[in-house]
């Protein structure tokens, strides 16, 4: 089955047609998606600004991670579920949409950046937990901030190009 055929089949599933045919389901899911996304972007930015030494300088990286990251993951789970449901309702149009494709690629890069930071860069976090972060951590912060700005921008652009 080709990708466009797969998108067409997805769009024809009962829950997808229910979303696209309902007056309020799509706006409600989109609203919850945006609510969750604001928390994801805000909390990720809080961590990134700490890595860059711009924000929360009086807090250790590990303490800030413990306080913020559970909310990031919870909000991300909600945003992802709503995002997938929204996608299913217009899968064919979204699949062909360039801003949507850029958004998905940026999400994958943001995920990879996070994994590299946690499993490689932050292995010796004890050495710089309270002080100036190493160059690799600052690079991770800049990359993450940039990717999330593009994710929000492309997300907004989808509405103007579908």
């Amino acid at each position: 089955m080709s990708a466009p055929e797969l998108m067409h089949s997805l769009q024809e599933l009962s829950f997808a047609t229910a979303i696209s045919e309902s007056t309020w389901l799509f706006p409600m899911l989109e609203t919850i998606h945006v609510m969750a996304l604001t928390l994801v972007v805000g909390s990720v930015a809080m961590m990134d600004l700490r890595l860059l030494g711009i924000g929360s300088r009086d807090r250790s990286i590990s303490e800030l991670t413990r306080s913020v990251l559970p909310w990031t993951w919870a909000a991300f789970a909600v945003a992802a579920i709503c995002g997938l449901l929204l996608f299913s309702s217009k899968a064919v149009a979204y699949y062909d949409n360039i801003p949507f494709r850029i958004k998905v690629v940026c999400l994958l890069f943001a995920g990879m950046n996070m994994l590299v930071f946690h499993f490689v860069t932050a292995r010796d976090v004890g050495a710089w937990d309270n002080g100036r972060t190493p160059a690799a951590a600052r690079v991770a912060g800049v990359v993450s901030l940039s990717l999330w700005v593009v994710i929000v921008a492309t997300g907004r652009w989808i509405g103007f190009t579908t």
Binding site: T38, V41, G42, R59, V68, V152, A153, R156, G159
Partner: protein
Amino acid sequence: MIQAFSDWLAATRLSQTFADLGWFVPTVQTIHILAIAAVVTMLSMLNFRLLRITRDGPSLQNLAGGYVPWVWRFLVILLISGALLTITEPGRELMNNAFRLKMLLVVALVVLTVVLHSTLRKDPEYWTSTPQRRVLGGAIAVASLALCLTIVAAGRLIAYV
């Protein structure tokens, strides 16, 4: 009166110039959403602390001292970007009930944040000193969180109402 103002604004050269630029609305909306993300996250972290859901890290007073000045800065960005969007599409915003609700809720959120911050500046233990204040502080935190979520919802629903 609002209808007449909206019509006048839509006919201005500035409104028409912004409306003719295809990139203008999505770009300003992106800036608006990023600023909302900053405000909502900082206030949420503050409210989670007030509700004692999070307990690690700086005291409530230090957290408020760090976050609230930034909340005001981002609020200025929100007002400027919101004003630009209203100038570009006055009918879509000024005549919309979701937009009007959003503005009322923003005022309520600002009042709650001022109350919370000013009391903490005078007395760091204000919201924990008595059981009654602890309950009131919790109620303010829940109201603030609900306002944040409703403001985001109303903002998105402007496109549908």
